[in-house]
Symmetry: C2
Subunit: 186 residues, 2 copies
């Protein structure tokens, strides 16, 4: 592998971002499909989310957040703010469903949305176009698309944390070495 | 999905732990194989690790840590401390290798080690057997095996963090919503 001069930042590249986004459904599938229900619905206590809840949230993002907002920027810029995103919509939408069903739906929606993104034929100049976020105002299309990727990883890290949390007691003294459990910066 | 009374802890179960451990190589494969080199070698700055480095570390764990220590507990209990684990061994061991090569090796070793674990035919009583950790002393076989699982997830979360970190600037004001980047508890 070749070293690069700046290995802690990558300039945003639409083709790379698309490649990263395409990998999230298969990664979650390889990880979660077929796990016992008690792991799929495990959480960190209180109102925290399970892997099942996270899947529902990612599906809702495909339906209501990323590509719809990208299209809004391309068609009407910052004329209107984005519709606020409901971070709790999945609890109603996923009631009675199964994880394999959610994995299938997420995979299908992501494929469809990446095809929709490609169809926009975005140019470098398009990435600088502005939209308006309902909470913090002006954002660029580049920021929206970079956030789509980082948001996937926020939830991948969350699933790792939720699953590891289940063994918080069982790991005994090793807890000190496991920042995913201890919450300590490592 | 059915609710369980205690969704934030799972009692350690060898069969479940084995199922979780078996999923880590395919999950990393789905995520990382074929990514551009600059993503595979990306890190968080300074001496932090890239996904490539993490893979090397996981391989070294399969060779020198988990199953060898489990076998030591079964054959000689806590008579001798475990050999210390070299957390930097991968830098020498992976020099000049490729990520697909490391993914193949990790998958093969994990499969082989889970077969080796099954061959030990551990009983519930065996899980209470003691070994001796070179730094913090007495540990049980159950703690070692639970840590094997949680350690995988520590590094899954790390890879998510390293990749998301690359877009730390590109996400703009969304940074506040992304704990994988901000480091804030959410």
């Amino acid at each position: 592998m070749t070293a690069t001069s700046r290995r802690n930042r990558r300039a945003f590249d639409l083709q790379e971002a698309t490649a990263l986004l395409a990998r999230t459904p298969p990664l979650l599938d390889a990880w979660l499909r077929g796990l016992p229900d008690d792991w799929v619905t495990a959480h960190e206590g209180g109102d925290t989310w399970s892997p099942f809840d996270v899947l529902g949230h990612l599906i809702h993002g495909e339906e209501a957040d990323w590509l719809p907002r990208a299209r809004q920027i391309m068609t009407s810029g910052d004329a209107c703010a984005f519709a606020p995103f409901d971070r709790l919509a999945q609890f109603e939408a996923t009631r009675g469903r199964t994880l394999p069903d959610l994995l299938d739906e997420f995979g299908g929606l992501r494929r469809q949305n990446l095809a929709g993104l490609a169809a926009l034929q975005l140019t470098a100049a398009d990435l600088d176009r502005h939209g308006r976020h309902p909470a913090f105002g002006p954002v660029t299309l580049r920021q929206l698309l970079a956030t789509w990727v980082a948001h996937d990883y926020d939830h991948v890290a969350q699933i790792a944390r939720v699953l590891a949390h289940q063994y918080s007691d069982d790991v005994g003294p090793w807890r000190a070495y496991l920042r995913v459990i201890s919450g300590q910066p490592g």
